[in-house]
Symmetry: C2
Subunit: 360 residues, 2 copies
């Protein structure tokens, strides 16, 4: 069995953390006798520089031919003057999500034992730990709804966006939230703004209907404004948070920041046939790019998720995750996870990769 | 000079904290020889029970005849089974905002000296303090945009909402943000999602234009997802946050929770002629209603804001704020602001009101 992975390293720290993910993948390939072929494609700012657009045709074709996409990160100050549509993030990520109908985005945020002090939360709150999974609808809602645009002139010129959801779209993402919750702490918190949005009223109705098929899973509804607040007071009481596209964008970033260690978080964007895009939660971090200090763990964990979800190589995925767990609990950490007194013990990007590759 | 205030106490703790605000208003009336006439009107769940709808005509007429509205809080479990449109919060607040075109909502969130431990943030972050003002557009955006509704059937049934902003609407709220920033730390952070929303692209353009008239104020733009994160790490670096209706709903609640003392926060909703609605940031707290333990400070500070902004009685407003400051720094606190060991020192709702009234 041979697999094809499209590797889109992108900008900033993307290429250097991707190199470590490749190192670890090569190690598990040997250990589990997998045969994976990797092809690199330009994306984001790198693609703008080399080919004039953030998602060149060759990249899209390469992804179509692959079993999965391993994505780094895109964007940086160099391309910020461009029009929104042409910028690396929007110009690469949104079309990829749309083209492959990657409707299901899963962003886990877990406070790692021993790293509680990284959380921006008060110690009595962070010491309780938390493990929240944001299940976000990714190809509909106000991101893709039509009409979207501008009309009129002078002070009456107006811009408009449309939030739109069908019963079918809500059903398929809700099912995934409930199924995933069954393998976790059996609680789904559906985030909406049903006191204002027609989309949220339908969302709530459909989620209630889907919930009937999962009687073992507890369901609660919460308004987005209140969710943002409650996560600060009692993050440990949430398990799976089911969100529309826009609300999931906000909630997933909030929970990521609550861990205080974004360099450890990865995410999945999947379609209904198991094809997916796997990427770290943090951005391209142009300020630290090229220094060999970026944390490669999120990129390495993205590779593990790719193995599990798109290639169905559970054992190889678990091997990577176990190795990462061991490395972190051994206190083998990059600088951003260490206090200033301990920072002289910081490991470099490639030392982290080497150590994890050795352990898989 | 005689003023008319429409008093809408509402549900839950609304009536009991309103009684304390009235006590304090009576005290400043005497001291500053003001003549204020108060008329009580039903609103929210109380109005549903007595008159069958959350915002009866008589209430709306009474508000029209007044110089300002002093609002308590609405909602509670008793009315949660109702359709969204008929519920107390949505059925009273949104029509009031729309009817009086209360486009400008200001929600300050300041960490009070001595109450840093209430913040859910890590002590090294909260000890730096913060003082953030959310300036939220309140009568447009996805709350009021048309079309909004449902169509189709079966699994293709869909719901839709429209986010809509005109240049004029953005200009008027942006001006207020910059003017307010001039009297504060001279920084405006405009929150948007310009990498996805057409409304945000226009928002950013207009804010840039308005900023030219305020060269002494620094302007920065931030995406809503990133704003949610940065507030957790460095709340002290924000001054005025300028937000559209939906994003302001989220940001204002997040910053309120970051103080950890919602019972101290009040807010203004104003139109262009200075007419306004003044209300506490916290909700109706039905769980503690009727026990005499609710914190009346937010309601009392709402009265101060009403005096300042709608009645132009700056001295009376400042007298109330100074009295509140003194009471808090004297450690005169309701139970939710005290640790369990100190809770036996908790003051009741009416003791707080008495003490503040005495001091104005
Ligand atoms: C870059 C942007 C369009 C994107 C989004 O809003 O979805 C990003 O914030 C994310 O969450 O992946
Ligand atoms: C009750 C609700 C409609 C309202 C809003 O979303 O504006 C509330 O959350 C608020 O912030 O005042």
């Amino acid at each position: 069995m041979s697999y094809q992975i499209a590797v889109l390293a992108g900008d900033g720290i993307g290429p250097e953390v991707m190199a470590e993910a490749r190192k670890v993948l090569t190690a598990v390939e040997e250990r589990f006798s997998l045969s994976i072929e990797y092809t690199d494609y330009d994306v984001g700012g790198a693609a703008i520089d080399s080919q004039g657009c953030p998602l060149p045709d060759a990249t899209l074709k390469g992804c179509e031919a692959a079993d999965a996409i391993l994505f780094g990160s895109v964007g940086g100050p160099k391309w910020e003057h461009l029009a929104p549509n042409d910028q690396p993030e929007r110009g690469a990520l949104l079309p990829l999500r749309g083209h492959f109908e990657l409707f299901c985005n899963m962003r886990p945020a877990k406070l790692h034992a021993g790293l509680e002090h990284m959380s921006p939360l008060r110690s009595d709150i962070s010491s309780r730990g938390f493990d929240v999974l944001c299940v976000r609808e990714l190809t509909s809602g106000i991101y893709f709804g039509k009409p979207k645009g501008r009309q009129g002139e002078g002070e009456n010129e107006e811009a408009f966006d449309t939030m739109r959801y069908t019963r079918k779209e809500i059903t398929r993402i809700a099912k995934i939230a409930f199924e995933t919750a069954q393998g976790r702490r059996k609680k789904v918190t559906s985030v909406d703004k049903a006191n204002v949005l027609a989309c949220s009223v339908l969302w709530r109705e459909v989620v209630e209907t889907v919930a009937k098929d999962y009687p073992d899973v507890e369901l609660e509804h919460i308004y987005i404004d209140n969710a943002t607040m409650q996560l600060l007071r009692r993050p440990d009481e949430f398990d799976v948070m089911l969100c529309s596209n826009l609300f999931g964008d906000i909630i997933s970033d909030e929970i990521a920041m609550l861990t205080g260690s974004m360099g450890l978080l990865s995410s999945i964007s999947m379609n209904s046939s198991g094809f997916g895009l796997y990427e770290p939660a943090g951005g391209s971090a142009p300020d630290i790019a090229g220094q060999g200090i970026a944390n490669p763990v999120a990129q390495i964990l993205s590779a593990a998720l790719l193995l599990r979800h798109s290639l169905k190589q559970e054992a190889a995925a678990t091997a990577i995750e176990t190795a990462v767990g061991k490395v972190l609990s051994d206190g083998y950490l990059t600088g951003e996870l260490l206090s200033s007194e301990e920072r002289h013990n910081a490991k470099s990007t490639s030392e982290m990769g080497d150590y994890i590759a050795q352990l898989v």
